[in-house]
């Protein structure tokens, strides 16, 4: 019956259907290839972390053996998971987690407050301040890093957790992101709350902040990645193992004469997990925020 129905379809419709089918196949294949390209470095990293011969890891790099481990071992993870000793990588991971949580936590509060005041506050010269904030964003971190090192060392902050957190809490980018988000919310929300006698802080905390989950998620992820990947700054301002983050500790494996790929890979996997968890936790709002930004133009 159905064969008969298909055979009675005009030839043009059949051709169109066949073309659509081919297009979908090409689309699916393309998506698969792109996904494979994106995932393959992560896969290679995980596979390498399960090999115990650092020279074999290097030898396998140029072939498909990089994606296959015949005798997997967790020995590398055992070596980099220690919490004490001269190279306490487990401890450095905890240091990094603390720095991440404190920077992102404080960053969300400070930047959202600043963004809110710039969008709805009664501060004079808001437009000028906003322009200055945007102007600050274009100054690269590298150009101010040495003066900043001198400042923090004069303030006696060297080799502390604070020195890795405080300078990076307030950020022109995130202030601007929050400003943009808050400015798009309806004016009536602010006015109604004001008429009810709510203070500016109350309006921020009880009305605008709960509505800004996509912005909070976006800033959490972007700020988290930025904080987690800090390398040069902690090298310059930390001295001992006390507040050393994992990114600096991993560099130990890249020695003068040898590179310890096995342990470097295991430590990299451990380093990757928290930021991956952060992304997975916030990805729904993160994506919706980006989609929203695109729609609103």
């Amino acid at each position: 019956m159905s064969d008969l129905a298909i055979s009675t379809l005009p030839a043009e419709v059949t051709r169109k259907r066949s073309a659509i089918g081919s297009l979908r196949l090409i689309q699916t294949a393309s998506i698969l290839v792109i996904a494979l390209v994106i995932v393959s470095p992560l896969l290679m990293l995980i596979v390498a972390s399960l090999k115990d011969d650092r020279f074999q890891i290097l030898a396998d790099m140029g072939s498909f053996r990089a994606f296959w481990v015949p005798n997997p071992t967790l020995a590398n993870f055992a070596e980099v998971g220690n919490l004490s000793g001269e190279l306490a990588f487990g401890r450095y991971l905890l240091n990094s987690l603390f720095i991440l949580a404190a920077t992102v936590g404080a960053g969300l509060i400070v930047n959202s407050m600043a963004g809110f005041v710039l969008a709805w506050g009664s501060l004079r010269g808001r437009a000028l301040i906003l322009s200055l904030v945007i102007a600050l964003y274009v100054i690269p971190q590298e150009s101010i890093i040495m003066p900043l090192v001198i400042m923090v060392s004069r303030a006696g902050m060297t080799d502390t957790f604070a020195v890795q957190i405080v300078p990076w809490i307030a950020s022109p980018l995130y202030i601007f992101l929050f400003y943009q988000f808050f400015a798009q919310l309806p004016k009536e929300l602010f006015e109604a709350a004001e008429m009810d006698g709510a203070s500016v802080f109350r309006i921020y905390r009880s009305i605008f902040l709960p509505l800004s989950l996509p912005a909070l998620a976006t800033v959490s992820i972007l700020m988290g990645i930025e904080t987690w990947n800090q390398y040069l700054w902690p090298i310059l301002v930390t001295q001992t193992a006390y507040a050393r983050p994992i990114a600096v500790a991993i560099a130990t494996f890249f020695g003068q004469d040898s590179i310890y790929w096995d342990r470097a890979m295991a430590a990299s996997v451990l380093m990757m997990l928290p930021i991956l968890a952060l992304y997975l936790a916030f990805q729904r709002w993160f994506v919706s925020s980006f989609v929203g930004s695109a729609v609103k133009g």
Partner: protein, 427 residues
């Protein structure tokens, strides 16, 4: 209860006072996990022997050591003791960061230093010793015995017997056609241009060919680095790369002893021996660097220890350096990693480098062909300009143009610093 609290407070104040009375010595260093652990253990042993001293180790990754040092200088937080790469010594002394170390360390250590070790730690202007190391370094030519026998290559017995340029290039040609050989030589391009490798290992090829990175009397690079001899030497190396004879940068640093032994020769550091020999056993042959011109040349110099001018306790800093250089466990670790002796007592305890030992030829090079990298304050610019030029040449750039640009860059730096007085008077 109140009395108890008061006594506890008093006790903690007294203990706090004792803690504060300790002298803190800051020691800045680099190194892989093995060395980081070893330095930590040495510091603990020193503290146990000197209870009134605290050693605070400041670690900086190898690749970011210069940035860390610059930050320490700018923030006026120089450590008491610092590890430094020997060719940078002239720059650090000229800038006023290091103080003479000879009066601060045990005199038996000074007498124990090899000539090459003294040379790498001496500032050429006042001829004073500013740094000392347990180890030194060299580069040799490693060969795969099976491949060399297959092409009928002559195995040199010592430095005088080294391959000539014609022999060497002839063997590269033959090896390129030998079954099983993917690349005739690994020159360790895999170390990249962020490390000192290019200047350290390829510089002696220029010196052997009859030229240098800079004229060591006039301290001018133009006319020396871009001379015919240097252009010829780097054109020769560019040819090796173009012919596909050299392991590419992307293939890492272990193709000599990787599965299947794809590289037949390796122009490698002394540190390469331990890992290569463990994998290749009797198949490894250690040979002197070839003579590319009238004389042989080999590199020297490594990471050594100096005491900064910022140290408030240079005597204690010197005591720590002496303690560390004599530490048995530290020497054991250096031996395990085939450490190249910079102290005679360490050499006597290192059968690897003794006469008849597998790396004897490497130690022989130290007293016969070793040439230090230019001991000049402009060295950071010299090495950076030269490495950039070699990278450009290996990627197919014009040899003469690349070397001339590098030489001009070096001369510009020296001119901008008024010749780095008193180096401008040393002609």
């Amino acid at each position: 209860m109140g009395n108890r609290l008061l006594s506890m407070l008093m006790a903690s104040a007294v203990l706090g006072g004792i803690a504060e009375a300790k002298t803190v010595i800051h020691v800045m260093h680099q190194g892989d996990p093995g060395w980081v652990s070893t330095y930590g253990e040495v510091a603990k042993r020193f503290e146990a022997a000197n209870p009134d001293v605290d050693i605070e180790l400041i670690y900086a990754p190898h690749d970011a050591y210069n940035e860390k040092f610059s930050a320490a200088v700018m923030s006026k937080q120089l450590p008491d003791v610092m590890e430094l790469d020997a060719p940078f010594l002239a720059n650090y002394v000229w800038s006023g960061y290091l103080q003479p170390i000879k009066p601060l360390i045990d005199q038996d250590i000074v007498g124990d230093m090899t000539a090459s070790n003294i040379a790498q730690g001496t500032y050429p202007v006042d001829k004073e010793l500013y740094a000392v190391g347990l180890t030194d370094s060299s580069v040799v030519l490693y060969g795969n015995r099976k491949y060399l026998e297959a092409i009928g290559a002559r195995i040199p017995k010592g430095v005088d017997d080294a391959w000539t340029r014609e022999e060497f290039e002839g063997y590269l040609q033959k090896l390129s056609k030998l079954e099983g050989v993917k690349w005739p030589i690994d020159t360790f391009r895999g170390y990249g241009i962020k490390t000192e490798w290019i200047t350290y290992a390829y510089g002696p090829i220029l010196q052997s060919a009859g030229c240098d990175l800079i004229d060591r009397k006039t301290w001018k690079s133009t006319g020396t680095l871009d001379s015919d001899a240097c252009v010829d030497a780097l054109t020769m190396m560019q040819k090796w790369v173009k012919n596909g004879w050299v392991v590419p940068q992307s293939s890492g640093t272990n193709q000599f002893f990787a599965e299947g032994h794809p590289a037949a020769l390796a122009l490698g550091g002394h540190w390469f021996y331990a890992e290569a020999a463990a994998s290749m056993k009797d198949d490894i042959v250690v040979m002197p660097l070839p003579k590319f011109g009238p004389k042989g040349a080999s590199p020297n110099g490594t990471w050594i220890w100096g005491i900064t001018t910022a140290s408030e306790h240079p005597d204690i800093a010197g005591k720590f350096v002496s303690f560390m250089l004599k530490d048995k466990q530290l020497r054991e670790h250096a031996k395990e990693t085939s450490g190249y002796p910079g102290l005679k007592s360490f050499a006597a305890d290192s059968p690897l480098y003794a006469a008849g030992g597998p790396m004897a030829v490497a130690f022989e090079q130290a007293s016969t062909t070793a040439v230090a990298r230019p001991p000049h304050p402009a060295y950071p610019t010299i090495t950076s300009a030269f490495m950039g030029a070699v990278d450009e040449i290996f990627n197919g750039g014009d040899v003469k143009a690349a070397l001339t640009a590098a030489a001009e860059k070096i001369d510009e730096d020296i001119e901008e610093n008024d010749g780095y007085p008193p180096f401008d008077e040393q002609q």
